[in-house]
Each structure stands twice: as C-alpha cells, then as structure tokens.
Amino acid sequence: MHMNLLEEGEVVRLTADPITTTQLVKYAGASGDFNRIHFDEPFARAQGLKAVLAHGMLTMAIVGRCLEQAVGESAYVEEFSSQFLAPVWVGDVVEATARLAERGEGEGVLELSAAVEDRMVLRGRARVRWN
C-alpha cells in the first residue's frame, strides 16, 4: 500500500492474531523486558492482575505495523508516540487503526489507536516524511 493512495481522513485497519503467552515470551526475549507480569501467571495474579498482561510496547509495535501499512515503505517515521490506556490480556485480539489526519508537502500526521472489542487500549500519533 502506498501513501499516494491514502487520502486525508482515510483509515487503515489491522487486526492482529490473538495474543499468546508464547508471543509474550518471544517479545520478552526480543526486547529484553522480562517483567514477570508478562509471562508468569501465578506471579501476575499475586500482583492483583486477573491474568498475564501483554507488554504495552507489543501493542505499540502492532500499531506500528498498521502505521507502516498505511504509509508505505518509502516513508520515514520521524516521531511515533503512544499512550497506554488499558491493559491487553493474553487471548485479546488487538485491532489497530491509522488515520491520516494531516497531509502536507512530503509529510503527514497520523492519528493511531488500538482497541480490544470496544475497549480502547492505546491512543497514539505519528509524524512521517516521504523522500
């Protein structure tokens, strides 16, 4: 998908596979974030959580995939920020959206979000540039 096809206000959606504990272990290894609330269920429950919690950064990475699909590989992401609004649990299906909010000469601003069913879990923003 290329940017030239994306109009201002247009939305791109990506639905990720359900989060698994295996994926969280892989992400822990790949990112170096070994907080046990992300893979050790008895530990997570002892912390007052109802289950194992996905890394917020994994949710952001899923939104990043949606962002890439929206802007195309010739785009360069100058700034990418996220606020984590609610937990994502094992088994959750994250749906990411990227909406082109502003488009200028060779650059654009996208509004990003992620939801699990009707629960908003992440809100974000990106500034991109096309060469």
Binding site: A16, D17, Q23, K26, Y27, G29, A30, S31, G32, D33, N35, R36, I37, F43, A44, A46, Q47, G48, L49, K50, H55, G56, M57, L58, M60, A61, I62, G64, R65, L67, E68, E73, Y76, V77, E78, E79, F80, S81, S82, Q83, F84, P87
Partner: protein
C-alpha cells in the same frame, strides 16, 4: 515505597548497542511483522538500505546492562507502561553501532481513581559513530500504589 526524587537529572553510564540482523529478525517475528525490509537483506538493499531495517519500535530493545538504579527498589509487579515516544533522525539498519545512555528526566505524581500514581519520565538517547543523536526513546513508566488496576 515511592520513587526516590534525588535521581531526577541522573544519567546511567553509556553502553554500546550493535544493531544486528538476527535481533531485527527476532524482534520482527515477536511482533508478528513479516515486512521483508526486516527479514530479507537483498530485498532491503534493493530498496536502498545498507542492510535489514529495524521496525519503528525496535529501540525499545536498547536496555542498559543493569537495571535503572531508580527502579531497583520498586516492586516490579506495580510498574506499568504509561507513555512511549520514539523521536528518530533516520531509520536504524543492521550494522549501526550506537552509544546509548539512559537519563531520568523527571518524576511527577497524581491521584488516580484507586490510589496514587507516580510517573517516571526516562529518555534513552542513542548516538551513532559520527556522534549524531539518531533516536530518542522517551518512556513514561507508571508506578501504581498497591491494589490498583487488576480488572
């Protein structure tokens, strides 16, 4: 136990990160991203990159060899991700040798619905061999009071 304010303005010792093809591929696999720029070096080169490109959140994996001293006394089960921003000067590619340093920018707090929340504002700044700041990874870590969240 709350976060020790005397760490505001502190920086950890710098450390080196070599961006490697294997770590890029494993990171991309973990996030479920099959973009060939992250997996297929000849393809990435055909698109004008020196080698595999790193995904946009890859700098999340740049971690100091020891835990941040301001986080050490905290109860890890109460640490949550609050906000995160990556500010990039260029795309990271395999072969980049970076000098990274973790800074504690500020600590703030507010009353949440079920107790006090503290916000630990950290920046990891990565410079390349030419001394250019290539990526800033700004992270706000939330330290929740015991018994909050969980639903």
């Amino acid at each position: 136990m709350s976060v020790d304010r005397s760490f505001i303005g502190a920086a950890m010792p710098p450390f080196e990160v070599e961006v490697e093809k294997g770590t890029i591929r494993r990171f991309a696999e973990a996030i479920g991203d099959d973009n060939p720029l992250y997996h297929d070096e000849p393809y990435a080169q055909s698109r004008g990159f020196a080698s595999l490109v790193a995904p946009p959140t890859f700098a999340a994996s740049f971690r100091p060899p020891t835990r941040q001293p301001w986080l050490v006394p905290l109860d890890e089960g109460r640490i949550l991700a609050g906000e995160q921003a990556f500010i990039n000067r260029r795309r990271l590619v395999a072969g980049d040798a970076l000098r990274c340093q973790m800074h504690l920018v500020d600590i703030t707090e507010k009353e949440g619905r079920s107790g006090r929340l503290e916000f630990i504002i950290q920046e990891l700044r990565a410079h390349d061999g030419a001394g250019e700041l290539v990526v800033t990874n700004r992270r706000v870590v939330i330290y929740r009071a015991p018994g909050t969240l969980g639903a």
